[in-house]
């Protein structure tokens, strides 16, 4: 279990992470979500004992990150931002080094190295020098290093950055496969990744925790959640007819689509289909929206920015 209490980090006057509180149970894939410079990486650096917090602390499986750093390091596999690696070594030599620092020697170390090379499909480059590898391979070597000891906690800073769509899929599958007993924290600014991968998402901006929920619950906050979009031969007529319905709160016409937003009374989708068959529209497309994460993300992060600027003006 990870428990963070009042985790705070300053860089001079700048507050990078501001009073972060959360607990994470095993079996969770937690996504840190936030704009660039939000404090995601700094939080991860503190959890992995690279940076000491300015105030507050965190415990990982009972070990304090400040007073018991070595025990924490043994429990945590870490992929730092940008996946830094010893460029002059071969993939094989680098992974042997990683296995060595995790306490594996001889045959056991060789077995571990073989295992992660297979798992991340690095076989074809194992003798190659790391600096000659493509970005995607480098990222996977960084991941291989992080999981080599099969640690109970994995902290991965942008694990799919720089990968092509197939590789992204593959890495996501790998993370999902490992997720059942581990605590996995990933940071990302790719919103679809949160939906595809995480069982819990925390939205962080300007160092503050703004939302902490399941991706589904976050999606439900979107004004698009349960909205109905359709495309007909006469968009304007459709829009005005829809706006008469008691189930509809608002109608929007954009890019050849009419979107009706729900109110709290009644089943919007059923009402729209009923209306369209009564009116005899030529419907070429009809869909129930599931909510848009980017929409929620924008709302939450902008709300905070406005709040802060109005506070600043009042002061």
């Amino acid at each position: 279990m990870i428990e963070a209490q009042h985790l705070t980090r300053h860089f001079g006057q700048f507050v990078a992470v501001d009073d972060l509180n959360f607990t994470v149970q095993p079996g969770t894939v937690l996504g840190f979500l936030g704009p660039n410079g939000a404090g995601k990486s700094t939080s991860m650096k503190m959890l992995t004992t690279f940076l000491p917090p300015t105030s507050g602390s965190a415990r990982i499986h009972g070990h304090d990150i400040c007073t018991d750093a070595l025990a924490v390091r043994k429990l945590v596999g870490y992929l730092p931002e940008g996946a830094p690696l010893y460029a002059e070594l071969s993939v094989q030599a680098f992974l042997e080094f990683a296995a060595g620092t995790r306490g594996f020697r001889g045959l056991e170390a060789a077995k571990r190295v073989d295992h992660v090379i297979e798992r991340l499909q690095l076989g074809e480059v194992r003798r190659q020098t790391i600096e000659t590898l493509s970005k995607g391979f480098k990222r996977r070597v960084g991941l291989a290093q992080a999981i080599i000891s099969d640690p109970p906690v994995l902290i991965l800073d942008e694990p799919t950055d720089g990968l092509d769509p197939n590789q992204k899929k593959q890495v996501r599958r790998l993370i999902r496969e490992m997720s059942s007993e581990k605590i996995i924290i990933i940071s990302t600014h790719i919103l679809e990744e949160v939906d595809a991968l995480c069982s819990r998402a925390m939205i962080i901006a300007r160092g503050k925790l703004l939302a902490d929920d399941t991706p589904a619950a976050l999606l439900a906050r979107s004004r698009y959640a349960n909205a109905v979009s359709l495309s007909t031969n006469d968009l304007q007529a459709t829009a005005s007819a829809l706006s008469e319905l008691p189930e509809v709160s608002e109608v929007e016409v954009r890019r050849g689509l009419v979107t009706a937003f729900p109110t709290n009374n009644g089943d919007l989708f059923a009402a729209v289909t009923r209306l369209s068959s009564e009116a005899g529209w030529e419907v070429s497309r009809l869909q129930l929206e599931s909510g848009r994460l980017d929409d929620v993300f924008r709302d939450i992060t902008q709300e905070q920015a406005e709040e802060e600027s109005s506070q600043g003006a009042a002061a």
Binding site: R73, Y78, P84, Y86, A98, G100, T129
Partner: protein, 249 residues
């Protein structure tokens, strides 16, 4: 205790560091340049043949000057490179202590310089063919030279930890090494003479690498001279560790 260290992560980092030297041209360039320059100094400036004395004094007397530039060139990358490439974050979040990392990186570089020194053994053999040198003195010379290189290296390692720029690390290291080398000479002492008590000025004079090295390389292996270099190394490595911790806060 020592055995546990040798089996532990200390030796894993040590081996990785050493393999990095030989995975890049650094090792070969350093060794070749060191051997060429050491021999050129010995034969041309030192007058190895003309002296008609069977000893290695002309070889050892130029080591302080050789090290002044070559050792900071090795030391400058120790931490600055890790910081620049971001691997410092990888290294210091692995299950290793900062002390292990500092000592292992230092020892790897020190052993590497030791290897370059060992490769000058043909000169020792030559002297033995040409005459009957005092081999005890020569051995002491090698020991003193290696210890002095360690002193320079510890200074360079510490200053390398203070910056992510290797050029800055190099220049700072050369300047500090130069001050330590010459602290017995008026050039340095005159700066302090006006405003420090005589005792402090004497203490600074005693910090000179040159005087301690010269007495060892003349064959006078005084425990105080050995202790001096070990203390210098210990001091700068401790400072290295503190710089690393301070940089995080």
């Amino acid at each position: 205790m020592i055995i546990r260290w040798l089996q532990g992560n200390f030796s894993v980092i040590l081996r990785r560091e050493l393999s990095s030297y030989f995975a890049t041209p650094v090792a070969y360039v350093f060794i070749v340049i060191f051997l060429i320059m050491a021999n050129a100094f010995t034969f041309y400036l030192g007058g190895f043949y003309e002296r008609e004395v069977a000893d290695l004094q002309p070889f050892f007397q130029f080591h302080p000057w050789l090290y002044l530039f070559l050792v900071p060139a090795i030391g400058m990358r120790l931490w600055a490179e890790e910081r620049k490439s971001g691997t410092i974050e990888l290294l210091l979040t692995l299950p290793v202590t900062t002390r292990q990392a500092v000592l292992a990186k230092f020892l790897a570089a020190w052993l590497f310089i030791g290897l370059a020194l060992v490769l000058t053994v043909p000169l020792w053999i030559t002297v033995n063919i040409l005459g009957q040198p005092d081999n005890g003195t020569i051995l002491a010379g090698y020991l003193g030279s290696w210890l002095m290189a360690g002193g320079f290296l510890a200074i360079s390692a510490c200053l390398s930890a203070a910056t992510r720029n290797q050029v800055i690390a190099f220049i700072l290291s050369v300047v500090v090494c130069f001050l330590f080398l010459l602290s017995g000479l008026p050039l340095v002492l005159d700066v302090f003479r006006g405003w420090l008590p005589q005792m402090a000025v004497d203490a600074i004079a005693n910090l000179s690498f040159l005087s301690h090295f010269n007495s060892i390389s003349r064959g006078v292996v005084d425990l105080r001279d050995l202790l001096y270099f070990l203390l210098v190394i210990g001091f700068w490595l401790l400072a290295n560790r503190i710089v690393l911790e301070m940089k995080k806060v």
